[in-house]
Assembly symmetry: C2
Homo-oligomer: 336 residues x 2
């Protein structure tokens, strides 16, 4: 029932080629024919079929975003940033949750898009391999892959982790534990390594059980904290790989009859707005999540234009935001 380019051409008494030209503004067209065509377009309420155009131009004007699960604040921010940036360049955003899909389902999606953004994930190596083989330009969130020619936008995990741990150490904490994120996140994995590395450099020991997995969730963070509190050598500080886990940990500390930051200082990662309103407010390593989503889109679009350029890895600044949960907010304010 929708009008096609043929209907428009007929009404405007021109060829479909001309209709196409005035609509795309690529070639010279008489003002008069242009007017006739536009009149027909209006009258018939014509909208070109993106699908047909896609077939003809071998391009979809779609970008696909793959992420483990969208049901988090982090995902919401990535999607929001990516969608606005994509839209600004005329692209639509396909949102795809990796969780719950088998390999076959996943592999059906890239064909729908000109470019792909994937949460960096050692977990789905075979998916990345297939993606590389398929030739779809891909940017990773969390790392880059020289071997697969995939660009990446990665937060400065080193800077953030080091700042957090040094801050805790500077304020006298010595038994600093780590609540880690899930295996599928390269960011989470990198933060564990940086935690270990930095602890060693600071001359602090990492006793058995000081690294607990909290799966990036509030509940997981709480459980991880409970395990830490059950340790014989109870930690006096915790660095969590994201804010949700840090908040869960705070709550667990309270339920255990201890208090934050007196008994256990806590620092999270992300800089979620919600942390600001906890009691005490959550100290955190801020990363501009929405910007990371935007940057990822810019990177794929750039790669589309520069297929042969060397792999790029964009490092995004992180920043320690000292609030109440690390027990040093007053001093910090003086220092600023």
């Amino acid at each position: 029932v929708r009008a096609t380019i043929y209907d428009v051409a007929e009404r405007a008494r021109v060829s479909i080629a001309t209709v196409s030209r005035v609509l795309n503004g690529r070639a010279k067209v008489t003002d008069e024919t242009r007017a006739r065509v536009m009149e027909a377009v209006e009258a018939l309420n014509y909208r070109p079929s993106p699908v047909a155009r896609g077939l003809a131009m071998r391009t979809t004007s779609v970008l696909a975003l793959f992420h483990q699960n969208f049901q988090t604040n982090y995902a919401a921010q990535i999607i929001s940033g990516a969608e606005s940036e994509a839209a600004a360049s005329g692209y639509a955003l396909l949102a795809i949750q990796i969780e719950g899909k088998d390999w076959g389902e996943l592999m059906r999606m890239p064909g729908r898009a000109d470019g792909v953004i994937v949460t960096g994930s050692p977990d789905n190596e075979s998916f990345l391999q297939a993606l590389a083989l398929g030739g779809t330009p891909t940017v990773l969130l969390g790392h880059s892959r020289q071997d697969l020619k995939m660009d990446g936008v990665v937060p400065d995990n080193r800077q953030g982790t080091v700042a957090a741990l040094e801050h805790l150490a500077a304020h006298g904490r010595t038994r600093i534990a780590h609540i880690a994120g899930p295996e599928w996140s390269t960011n989470a994995i990198e933060r564990v390594q940086l935690y270990q590395e930095t602890m060693a450099r600071l001359g602090l020991t990492v006793p058995e059980g000081y690294i607990q997995n909290g799966e990036f969730s509030f509940v997981g963070g709480g459980k991880a904290m409970q395990r830490l509190l059950a340790l014989s050598e109870r930690p006096d500080a915790v660095f969590a790989a994201n804010d949700m886990m840090a908040m869960g940990a705070m709550q667990a500390v309270g339920e255990h009859g201890l208090s934050v930051p007196e008994d256990v200082a806590i620092i999270g990662f992300d800089g979620l707005e919600a942390g600001e309103y906890m009691t005490p407010p959550l100290t955190t390593v801020f990363q501009p999540i929405e910007d990371i989503g935007r940057e990822a889109v810019r990177l794929v679009l750039w790669r589309l234009e520069n297929p042969d350029a060397p792999v790029r890895e964009e490092l995004v600044r992180t920043e320690l935001i000292v609030r109440g949960s690390c027990g040093a907010s007053a001093e910090h304010k003086d220092m600023e």
Copy 2:
């Protein structure tokens, strides 16, 4: 560089029609030719082009989700639910933020999808009109539209609002104010109406200034609360149209030197996990947001199959969850 159906046909020494048939399993094919085709498919790493298939079949296997802004927990849950449900039926989900796009940009998107889900919004009436005119099956979040033949999935705002207000009244609150959501949300608008209606039925007055807009955000809720606290007849309770605003309001009450629930009882709407961890925990009207997303997808898919069925409106249950912020959690527990 990607193999096409022609490459496969050539290698398997059959026609492209046969390749198509074995891939879609629609017609009878000899086991032997099937094997040859599959071998070629594997060898060439062939994946049919969704775009070409789309053109030929006049279908995209894509659903589009329009929402004001994705940067909220609510949006994350809607997307997550909608995407899983869509994927389960072989559809991909296009995520589109209405905010920041002009009419022309918006209207380019429906052509990419077989069906559309839109956050109910009086604000973009002309968009809905155009959608109806275009003939794309559409389901609305928040209401339905008989006149435009659009189905809807709507939370039971009446049940939730009435339960919240009656609860507050039953516990002796008489000066109950309302923090409303933005104009673009039909849910927000309906909640205002139900607030007024229910207050009247309960014999409670709604003084000038007792309805303040908080734009569905934490900050907006805080500001709305400040305005309420500045009123000569200060409210002793607040019913907010969502949890983010309720949390912002809680924080504003604290900053004003008053306490929740003693001075001001607060009830939100949504049932976000975060509310559970506030101090005090937020009493709220729960609605199954993720399920609403799923249901919306089921509804469009159903409409695709039943173009001529009468308009359907799915009512989704809501439920008052009594926690600390309304000042009645102890009694309530006894009642259960």
